[in-house]
Structure formats: C-alpha cells, structure tokens
C-alpha cells in the first residue's frame, strides 16, 4: 500500500484527499503551528492516489480537530476528508463542509475594500459556490476566485 509511505498515527486527525500542493495552505488555515502546540504534525505532498492521481495528506497527532475549524479548509480543499483516529482506528470519518458564510481567514482581494483598512471588523464573505469554492465580499461585493492567494 502506497499509503504506508506516511506513518500511521495512534491518536489524532488525518486530513486526506487534499489537492496536491495545498497541504501547507491547509496547515495555514488551521493555524498550525500554533504557539504552545506540541502535537507532531506531518504533511505529505504529492502522494500517489488512485482517485486523484496525486494528493496531499496532513496528520495531526494527539489532537482531534474541531469540525468547525476543519470546515474552513474546504475553502482550499473542497474534497478533503477528515478522519479522527483513536488507537490506530478510524473512529470518525467525515467530509469537509463549506459554511454559507466565511468570517476572517480570507482577505478581500479588493485593495480599496473597507475591510482592508484599520477598521474593527473581520472580513466577511458569502459563499456563492462550494465546489469550486467562490466567495463574495459581504462589504464591497468583490468576487474572490483565487482564495488560496487571499488567505491571511
């Protein structure tokens, strides 16, 4: 099994089926590494995959990621699957789900947007399409197509 190239983990979270090359962006969205974080994190890039040709995988040990947090990665990896691992077994498996609204995380691509000024607001976007993900700024209406480029 090609999967074995990446060590199995005992407890934690495995994010599978990430589009090739997006693993580091996924970590960025998850705010990993965070100060004070001690979990071992493994990112595998360009792993051969039957369904996808190539894919990326992220493994976070000893930490079960909050599903809400994980949903944010659907912005850049709409087909990712999340596996919660307990004692080497997949205890839970679910697909990412892009919410209808996205706050923070993404910066509006319009440099003249009020959310890019020193105002006390988070950016806010309506999700106009889930796959591929497309966002529309809730302030200036700008459509964001290259979301990865706008990640904070």
């Amino acid at each position: 099994m090609r999967e074995l190239k990446v060590q199995p983990i005992r407890n934690g979270t495995v994010i599978d089926h990430i589009a090739p090359g997006m693993a580091l962006k996924v970590l960025h969205v998850l705010r990993i590494p965070q100060e004070g974080m001690t979990s071992t994190v493994t990112a595998a890039i360009n792993v051969p995959s039957k369904e996808m040709g190539r894919k990326d995988i992220v493994k976070v040990e000893d930490r079960e990621l909050d599903p809400h947090e994980v949903d944010k990665i659907s912005l850049i990896a709409p087909r990712a699957s999340i596996n919660i691992i307990r004692e080497y077994e997949v205890a839970e498996k679910h697909l990412v789900h892009l919410p209808d609204m996205v706050e923070g995380i993404v910066r509006c691509s319009n440099p003249n947007c009020i959310t890019n000024q020193a105002e006390p607001v988070l950016s806010a976007f309506k999700v106009t399409s889930k796959d591929p993900p497309r966002l529309q700024c809730g302030y200036c209406d700008r459509l964001i197509t290259d979301i990865a480029a706008q990640l904070r």
Binding site: C108, N110, N112, C113, I114, T115, Q117, A118, E119, P120, V121, C137, G138, Y139, C140, D141, R142, L143
Partner: protein, 312 residues
C-alpha cells in the same frame, strides 16, 4: 406594505430593495415633486435630524440630500471636509459612525472606499443611506435615474435604454443596469471594447430578467433608443491622451447625432459632464439631465420619508 419594508431600514445597495419597494419609492417621490419645487409646504420631518458624513467631497449629492431634508421640514448637520474631520485624525469609520449616529435620526455616508456604507450600517444606531462608497454602490442615484425615466417616458419596463460610455468602471451605470433589469427593461450597452461591461455582470443582468445587447457604435443605436444614458469616459482609463481623445470623441452626443434619434428620445447624464454632451443639446427637447438632477430632491425626500416612517 412596501412602506413597512423601508421604515427603520438602511439603504446601502439597490439590491436591498424589492421591486415593490422601488416602485413605492417612485410613487412617493411623485407626490413629493410639488414640495420639492417649493410649491407646497411639508413639515412631516419637523424636529428630525439628518447627519451627512461626507468623507470625500460631493457637493451636488450633499446639497440634494440637505435640500430634501429641508423640504420635508427637517434639518441637517454634518461635514464634507475630511481634512477637518475626525477621520483625518485617524479615527476609524466605525467610531465616527458610532458617535455621529447618536446625534441624528438618519445618516448619509459618502466614502472613498468600497464597502464603507455596509460597515457604517453595522455600527450605526440609526438607518444609513449610502451616497456612494468608492467604486461601489450609489443607490439613491439609481432611484432618481429610474424616477426620471418613469416621469419622462412612462413604464420603465417598456423602454429601450442605451447605456453609453464607461460601462466597465462606472458604478452609476452598474447600479442603474441592475435596477433596470428588475423591470425587465431592454438595454443596449454602448461602449468601446476596452470599457464594455464585464461579461459576468452582463450575465447577471440577463439572469435578472433584462434583455441586453452590446454595441460599440452610438450611431447604430441612436435611432431606436427611448433613453440615452450617457456617462463620462475618464482620461485615467487610457494609456495616453491621444487614445482617450479618439475614443471619447466617438461617444459624444451632439445635435447632429440626435437628428437621427426618435423625437421623444431623452438624454440623461448623472453629471457633471465633461464634453460627453455638446451644450447645443441643452436646448433640445431631448435634454433631460438638468431635470434629472432636480428629481434627486423628490426621490431623496421619498427615501428619507419612508425610512423615517413619516407617512405621506
């Protein structure tokens, strides 16, 4: 019913209004015309205050709002010199709005950045009217444009409207096109290829119910249009002055061009104009752009009246 829809609400985006809301604004504006002309006295806004927060100067728009408030019997306060305002001292828009919305019953915001009115709405304790945020929305301009077409030409959905000039960057025209689409109006978008309306916006218009065709030459459409809505082509959009002069000259409306127009066709322009309409047009029956500027008052009276719940 629709009045219920506007009372206490902000007007940031033309899409904030349903079609019945828009029609109701126009109906109320019809009734406001005599008062806007000074022929009738209205006192419904007595004791009410409008705050005009102009973070960039737009004298025409500000005066139009202040005239509207005064004609309703209310009063205005505000600033239009950002250099003397708190914004110049580094205060956030959010704080300026939080403070000034304590002083007034409704506020009008003009700001150089897109999305500013939406932000102001979030922090204001009173309704916010967007008087233009950057290249974004300017819904009261759209309403007065629609009002002008209805007043001067009749049912909006039955007109053939040619939108002429900078259709790529011009916010007035995007917002107007969205408004016209709601009525199912037939539109011809007349612009040089480099300034034509972006394709996704054209698709949105069609999706919203408009019949839209594109054209590059004014001469091709002038004979069939009921309304020629002319906008400014800005120098900054061109790499050199030569190119600008060439293009701008092609989209100038003059008496010679209008000789081919329908007798009843009207010419509109959001003003100020810079050569797009030859002054010789001013004295023709087609010229309605000064009338259009006047209609800004009754339309803003209607909007203020509905938002403040003043009744009619």
């Amino acid at each position: 019913m629709a009045q219920q829809g506007l009372r206490g609400k902000s007007l940031v985006h033309i899409q904030d209004l349903s079609l019945p809301d828009i029609e109701h604004v126009l109906d109320v504006a019809d009734k406001m015309v005599p008062a806007a002309e000074g022929k009738q006295r209205v006192t419904s806004a007595q004791g009410r205050l409008l705050a005009t927060l102009f973070f960039e100067p737009s004298t025409r728009t500000r005066l139009s709002f202040e005239a509207a408030m005064a004609r309703l019997g209310g009063q205005s306060l505000g600033f239009s010199e950002p250099k003397t305002s708190s914004a110049a001292k580094g205060e956030t828009l959010a704080d300026t709005v939080r403070v000034t919305s304590q002083y007034a019953d409704v506020i009008v915001v003009r700001h150089p950045q897109e999305g500013a009115a939406r932000l102001a709405q979030r922090f204001s304790r009173v309704p916010v009217i967007n008087a233009g945020d950057g290249a974004g929305q300017h819904p009261t301009q759209t309403l007065l444009d629609l009002f002008t077409i209805r007043r001067e030409k009749g049912p909006i959905g039955q007109q053939r409207v040619a939108l002429v000039g900078d259709l790529k960057y011009g916010r007035t025209v995007h917002s107007l096109a969205q408004g016209l689409a709601r009525f199912g109006t037939e539109m011809v978008l007349v612009a040089p290829p480099t300034l034509q309306m972006p394709r996704d916006q054209v698709e949105d218009l069609k999706h919203a119910g408009a019949r839209v065709t594109l054209a590059t030459r004014l001469e091709e459409v002038v004979g069939s249009a009921d309304v020629l809505y002319v906008t400014r082509i800005q120098k900054e959009r061109f790499p050199d002055l030569e190119e600008y002069r060439k293009v701008a000259g092609t989209y100038t409306v003059d008496a010679e061009l209008l000789a081919q127009a329908k007798r009843s066709a009207i010419v509109l322009h959001p003003l100020p104009r810079v050569g797009e309409i030859d002054p010789e047009v001013d004295s023709t029956q087609h010229a309605k752009y000064f009338q259009q500027a006047f209609y800004g008052v009754p339309v803003r009276m209607a909007i203020l009246s509905l938002i403040l719940g003043l009744g009619e």
